[in-house]
């Protein structure tokens, strides 16, 4: 089970759209995929038309009185499940701090029993620097950082990279990519050009700022699903291809997958 987390201290940089689209592409290839909407605003849950509610709230999950498994909902797409957001997640820092064991490792611990069930897990984080984000960084194998092409964003990325480098033992791989990039803006163009070559952690794939991505909230589906041939969908596809370049493809994949047993089983 490989865990990806979309993270940025800033809000509105395209974390949720990236998590939703990349999780969809993972499932489309036949990987059993789970997306955990950790943001109390519940944008990812909304995009999959799933109510942002977990029985017993964040407290039950963090304390372990309710397993993650029991809270998972199937999306409309094969191989893609969602662990919904809940408004009580806004207090998750307190809950984590209150939990037994290491408070920075609780999310990793909670995810462990799902290892046999999922190939990929995506964690969609709320924008903050908190105990939740630290938990996420410890749980993730890959930290996906969407950055808007501005100088300030770059400073934040450098701070994050340093912070992760300071971890003892296991550290997630940091992969940043430009998000909401506007090619009409000279500054965007310059920063993208300079930085892609300067920093190895920055992906050459750029997610442009496009209205079709905003339409996701109207369609309530990933853009890669409802408009798969658009530039936006192609950009997410390229990003996913880049992320999985070193990973062996799952035998079959969604479209090559044989018809399910049941239809022939009688």
């Amino acid at each position: 089970m490989k865990i990806y987390a979309t993270y940025n201290i800033k809000g509105g940089v395209g974390k949720t759209t990236a998590a939703v689209n990349l999780a969809y592409l993972s499932a489309e290839q036949g990987h059993r995929t789970l997306l955990w909407d950790l943001d109390p605003q519940g944008a990812a849950s909304f995009l999959f038309r799933i109510k942002p509610r977990v029985k017993g709230g964040g407290r039950a999950l963090i304390r372990g009185t309710k397993t993650l498994d029991a809270a998972i909902k199937g999306t409309d797409f094969d191989d893609l499940d969602l662990l919904p957001a809940d408004f009580t997640y806004r207090n998750m820092d307190l809950l984590l701090d209150d939990s037994d064991g290491k408070p920075t490792r609780r999310i990793a611990q909670l995810l462990r029993p799902l290892a046999g069930e999922y190939d990929h897990v995506f964690l969609d984080c709320p924008p903050s620097i908190s105990l939740v984000s630290e938990n996420v960084m410890h749980a993730a194998d890959v930290l996906l950082v969407p950055i808007i092409p501005t100088t300030l964003s770059l400073r934040t990325l450098d701070q994050l990279t340093e912070f992760v480098a300071g971890f003892n033992g296991r550290r997630p791989e940091v992969r940043a990519f430009f998000s909401m990039a506007d090619r009409r803006k000279k500054l965007h163009r310059e920063i993208i050009q300079d930085l892609s070559s300067e920093r190895a952690v920055v992906s050459p794939t750029v997610i442009p700022s496009l209205s079709v991505i905003e339409r996701m909230s109207v369609e309530r589906a990933p853009v890669t699903a409802f408009a798969p041939r658009t530039q936006a969908a192609r950009a997410y596809r390229a990003l996913w291809a880049e992320l999985t370049a070193a990973e062996p493809a799952r035998a079959g994949g969604h479209h090559a997958r044989p018809v399910p047993a049941s239809a022939v089983a009688s």
Binding site: F48, R49, I50, K51, A71, I72, K73, G74, D76, D78, D81, R220, A256, R257, P258, V259, P260, A261, S262, A263, V264, A265, S266
Partner: protein, 562 residues
């Protein structure tokens, strides 16, 4: 999946449609589908899901051995050809349609493998299937039998999303419309409906199932698709067996019981003829020979109750038929045992035996040709036709009027008197065998035991099942021991004869003859072991306790006629 979800089907009989054409009654089916959608509409939005996993049209062919070995082991093997390619799929034979379509899970017994370039048009040995997990699972189970296409269906699967007010899919309705085509006639099977659960929304799936259960014209599906398809062809799974299961009752008049029994044996014999002639696998001939042997024993031991002359006329004919099949079967036995034989070689290497195998295969081809020719010839056809006619006459003859003080012999009386007689012979002959007895005495005892076994099996419905099973179990142990003893000797003798024949044909390298000698030595060893085991097994079956068991079994059957 929620446990109380079940498959449903549209109520209505099986219809017929011209081959290649649209099944008749389609508009009626559409109408019923509309009724299904109407039943669900108050609770759910219904959105057809185009391109859903599992949707589309696919052809499925069920494969099994002639004697249904996979079905009897609780398995169903299908070859499926759909848009995404062909594959072989092994499931539990109770698995019921598409309610696992979205999860792709179907218990632990499931296996599947791609089958590109393979077609189930003709029988194939399991070892000839494409390599993969399905073949691995069934190879031993099916061997040495071939897998035959049992029935082919064509199914159009459509999937509908059932949505909540947010437009979220909370369950799926899978509709399967199937037809089965046989001999140019296409029959429409009942349309099946399955509610598939979406994870995290079990209540909605249950609700949809309840709505379907309450809707008029929708009934729970109780049969698997295979059962439905076979039922449309007036067949059912496992409709061939080599066991004697004639419907005999204790009060039946003895001639009627014997004719009924012989007709059942004739059915089995005839069911196997085509498979023998087409040389599909070796077991068709085996089953045919068993039927012939049983028929000959029945004629010998019970034939006197048939009208005068019948047993005398047909006894020799069935001996002819049995003898006709012997050379091919003997060679089959050698060839089937070949892999095991080579495994036991110590001094020689398996390659040394290859010329022997080639020689056996050549001989087998020659003998088989003669057998197939004889089975196509008028003598065989006349034998079976006339025999059937004669038996049907006996079976259907009106009961003769009862004269005063003359009571007709019943099936139970016939069973007990004849079985007692043969059992006594077995007990006496076996009891007289000592360490110094000649092999022939064991061979003779083996024949008696076979007769006893057949008699017990012929009248099995008259006995208490538990007591019967115990007696048959002990008898089988004894028969296995006697069989090992005699077969080892016969095979050893055959190897000697075959070695002579190979020498005469200059087909015998020295290394091959040496390897054959090693096999003969191994057979002698097996024979000695069987001989050493005889007394114990005989005592268990025909010692004082065994005798009491047989007496009780027969007495109880006899008491049923009083």
């Amino acid at each position: 999946m929620t446990p109380d979800l079940q498959d449903f089907q549209l109520d209505g009989g099986v219809g017929e449609a011209p081959a290649g054409g649209q099944a008749r009654g389609t508009s009626q089916a559409n109408h019923s589908i509309q009724a299904v959608l109407d039943a669900l509409a108050p609770a759910f939005g219904i959105v057809p899901e185009r391109g859903a996993t599992g949707s589309g049209t696919r052809r499925r062919t069920w494969l099994d051995t002639f004697d249904w070995r996979l079905d009897r082991a609780g398995l169903a093997l299908t070859y499926e050809n759909a848009r995404l390619g062909s594959r072989l799929l092994l499931t539990a034979n109770t698995a019921n349609t598409a309610n696992t379509a979205k999860t792709g899970q179907d218990g632990t017994s499931q296996a599947e493998q791609p089958a590109a370039g393979w077609q189930p048009r003709r029988p194939a040995l399991a070892e000839d299937l494409p390599e993969g997990p399905v073949r691995d699972r069934i190879e031993k189970l099916a061997a040495p039998r071939a897998l035959l296409p049992v029935v082919t269906t064509s199914t159009t699967v459509s999937v509908n999303r059932l949505t909540n007010p947010d437009g979220k899919t909370v369950a799926r309705l899978i509709v399967e419309a199937s037809t089965v085509t046989h001999a140019g006639v296409t029959a429409k099977l009942p349309t099946r409906l399955t509610v598939a659960e979406v994870r995290g929304y079990p209540a909605q799936a249950r609700r949809a199932a309840r709505l379907l259960a309450d809707a008029p014209g929708i009934v729970p599906a109780t049969k698997t698709l295979l059962e439905e398809a076979l039922s449309a062809l007036r067949r059912h799974p496992a409709d061939y067996t080599n066991s004697v299961d004639a419907e005999i009752t204790a009060q039946m008049r003895a001639p009627v019981a014997v004719a009924t029994l012989l007709l059942r044996l004739l059915d089995t014999l005839e069911q196997n003829v085509d498979g023998v002639i087409r040389d599909i696998d070796t077991e068709f001939l085996h089953d045919l020979r068993v039927s012939v042997r049983r028929t000959r024993s029945a004629i010998k031991l019970l034939g006197d109750v048939l009208p005068a002359g019948l047993a005398e006329q047909y006894g020799p004919e069935f001996k002819w038929l049995g003898d006709l099949t012997t050379p091919t079967r003997d060679l089959d036995v050698h060839l089937l045992g070949f892999p095991a034989m080579t495994e036991h070689l110590l001094a020689a290497s398996p390659e040394d035996l290859e010329p022997f195998r080639v020689f056996l295969a050549r001989r087998r081809a020659r003998e088989f040709k003669a057998l197939a020719t004889a089975l196509r010839a008028p003598r065989f056809r006349t034998l079976t036709e006339h025999w059937r006619k004669a038996l049907v006459e006996v079976r259907d003859a009106a009961t003769p009027p009862k004269r005063r003080q003359v009571r007709h012999l019943t099936a139970a009386e016939l069973a007990t008197t004849r079985t007692t007689r043969v059992f006594r012979k077995v007990a006496a002959q076996g009891g007289a065998i000592t360490q110094d007895s000649a092999p022939q005495s064991l061979h003779d005892l083996r024949k008696r035991c076979k007769e006893l076994r057949y008699l017990l099996e012929f009248f099995a419905p008259l006995y208490d099942p538990v007591a019967y099973k115990k007696v048959i179990g002990d008898l089988k142990q004894l028969q296995d021991c006697l069989g090992e003893f005699q077969d080892s000797e016969v095979q050893r003798e055959e190897i000697r004869v075959l070695a002579d024949a190979m020498l005469a044909e200059r087909a015998a390298p020295a290394a091959t003859l040496l390897a054959m000698g090693e096999i003969a030595a191994k057979l002698a060893e097996a024979q000695a072991e069987a001989r050493a085991d005889f007394s114990r097994r005989f005592a268990r079956f025909a010692g004082p306790e065994g005798q009491q068991r047989v007496r009780t079994l027969l007495d109880e059957a006899g008491a049923n006629t009083q």
